[in-house]
Amino acid sequence: MSIVTATVTAETVAVPARRRGGFWHSLARNPKAVVGVVIFLLFTVMAVWPGLFTSVSDPNALEFMPSEQPSGDHLLGTTALGQDIWAQLVFGARQSLVIAVVAGGCATVLSVLVGVTAAYLGGIVDDILSLLTNAILVIPAFPLIIIFAKYAGQGGLPVILAVLVFTGWSYGANQLRAQALSLRSRDFLEAARVRGERRSYIILAEVLPNLASLIVANFLGAALYSVLTAAGLQFLGLGDPNSVSWGTMLYWSQNQQALQTGMPLWSIAPGLCVALLGASFALVNYAFDEISSPALRPVRRHRVRRSRQRTDRG
């Protein structure tokens, strides 16, 4: 009985995904994806035009009465240092988004380069690249990041981005290598080789388009990882304490004992923003899986492995 329901639901999801253009259509009809995209767009608008949401122009200036409760003037109250909490939240969106897009993007590019090269060239190159990937994968990332950030001085944005990319690419590289390996022996690639196409053409025009959905999924995963890790790092005080970001707000609120001194909003609100942005990536990613999984069998196996990524976070 359950077999029947399982296959039926799988079919109904899979069929529209196979039609040309139907993929985006089914993405738009998936409530998880819609919620995720809406949250992301909202934060993007905040990051680009903070002036639409608040009249404060310098969120770090100590220009208000400290420790005010929420009111008409200050939607979420003020910090113990005299800053408007709502204004800090609005301006903080920018850095989190930059971290998500830049670190997630660079890590994804790196994992595509390493993964596809390893799978396509094979032999000794594959052995070396796989060893490197697996080594980075098992080295505990968060402790390493903390140590890096400390040695590199109070980490500004470039330092944080660099360590996130360095530790964030290996998981995707492993997945892409496995997927590219399974493509290698397919007929259409064999045909391209027989036609005498150049290697660069085969990789760019034949292999990469077939990896597109996995690459997008990897970007979402890497972006989620980057947002959470960067916030954790800044929360511990290893970021730039003067930067405007949600992680830094959390650091100062913890520093000033916000929870114990009756100002919970100061630390709960920026954490909620980090959680919402993280949830938006996770929701879109899961919606992606739901739509493409029944049609592409290997993806289901990859999703199984994805659980490892969670386990190595501090």
């Binding site: 329901t5 399982a6 060893l131 098992v138 140590i147 040695y151 929870l259 959680a275 501090g314």
Partner: protein
């Protein structure tokens, strides 16, 4: 056999890579241990005395780099881990770690196991009742919980169960410091009560991943022919679910579980930090704050070694459990 040799080779190479990374990071980055030590001793020691102290844990700034490297490798393997130059100046590192290790293994280890067992059970039931109430709400809820920042969940729990309820549950340290440690019911109770909030934080954020993967594996397994055959034989639903479907669905999760057990030793740094829980993760945070280079080095080595050993044991176990792994190797 070839498979096992390959895995052993990987183990040795990765351990070496981690050790080397560990050796070169402090030497390539700005800021030297001598400076850190000078601030720590408030300028009261001469340059000579400082260098002598540093030499006792393997920092010989004037020696040949290769010689330093070889000495360092030897010291790490023989357990000559030196002394702390941080908050507990002069205390042997083996002693510091021995104090913190049981707390981390106890808290993070137990929480990790609970999260895995709970997640696997819920995931198996959700996958079995495909399309049921449980199955339609669970994925959305747990996709979100598994994307929550650990420390934020910790802050929320503190707010709800400690601050707003006038201190129902403690949120600081690992036991009530007014109680004398010992095998007394009072002390054990205090330890347990202090572990509730940090353990809950870890379980809440970790359980989602296990539920989702188990549910997805379960759905994949249920469409296999052997499950169909079990039905044809007229076995009870319970037997099919536990003995046929769940039993196979759990296999892909085991290696992930082994790895997360390896990560137990590195502790949940952010959780231990929020709760001031004196485990290894908190120790690393403090070592970093106090630029305690020797302690940092040893901790990082320990964390990596724990994961590697867990992965290695898992590789061996898979060969023993799964005939297919033996065949393809």
């Amino acid at each position: 056999m070839r498979y096992l040799v390959r895995r052993l080779g990987f183990f040795v190479l990765t351990l070496w890579a981690a050790l080397t990374l560990n050796f070169f990071i402090p030497r390539l980055m700005p800021g030297s241990p001598v400076d850190a030590l000078r601030t720590r001793t408030h300028n009261r020691l001469s340059q000579d005395a400082l260098e002598q102290l540093l030499a006792s844990f393997g920092f010989k700034p004037n020696a040949n780099l290769l010689q330093q490297y070889l000495d360092y490798l030897g010291d790490m393997f023989t357990g000559h881990w030196g002394v702390s130059i941080g908050a507990s100046l002069g205390q042997p590192i083996t002693q510091i770690i021995a104090q913190a290790l049981p707390w981390t293994v106890g808290l993070v280890g137990v929480a990790t196991v609970i999260a895995f067992v709970l997640g696997t059970l819920i995931g198996a039931v959700a996958g079995w009742r495909r399309g049921g109430v449980l199955d339609s709400i669970l994925p959305t809820v747990f996709v979100i919980t598994s994307a929550l920042p650990y420390f934020w969940v910790a802050l929320l729990l503190i707010l709800f169960f400690s601050v707003w309820t006038g201190g129902w549950l403690p949120h600081d340290f690992n036991y009530d410091s007014t109680i004398v440690p010992g095998w007394t019911p009072e002390f054990i109770g205090s330890v347990l009560v202090h572990a509730i909030l940090p353990a809950a934080t870890i379980i809440v954020t970790a359980v989602g991943g296990w539920i989702l993967t188990m549910r997805n594996n379960m759905i994949a397994t249920l469409s296999e022919d052997y499950v169909r055959m079990a039905r044809a034989k007229g076995l009870s639903d319970w037997k099919i679910m536990t003995g046929y479907a769940a039993r196979n669905a759990i296999l892909p999760n085991l290696s992930g579980f082994a790895m997360s057990l390896g990560f137990v030793v590195s502790g949940a740094i952010l959780v231990e930090y929020v709760f001031n829980y004196p485990g290894l993760g908190y120790l690393l945070y403090n070592a970093v704050q106090n630029t305690d280079y020797p302690l940092m080095q040893v901790l990082f080595l320990l964390f990596t070694a724990a994961v590697l050993v867990a992965v290695l044991i898992c590789d061996f176990a898979i060969v023993a459990l799964d005939p297919r792994a033996r065949a393809t190797s």
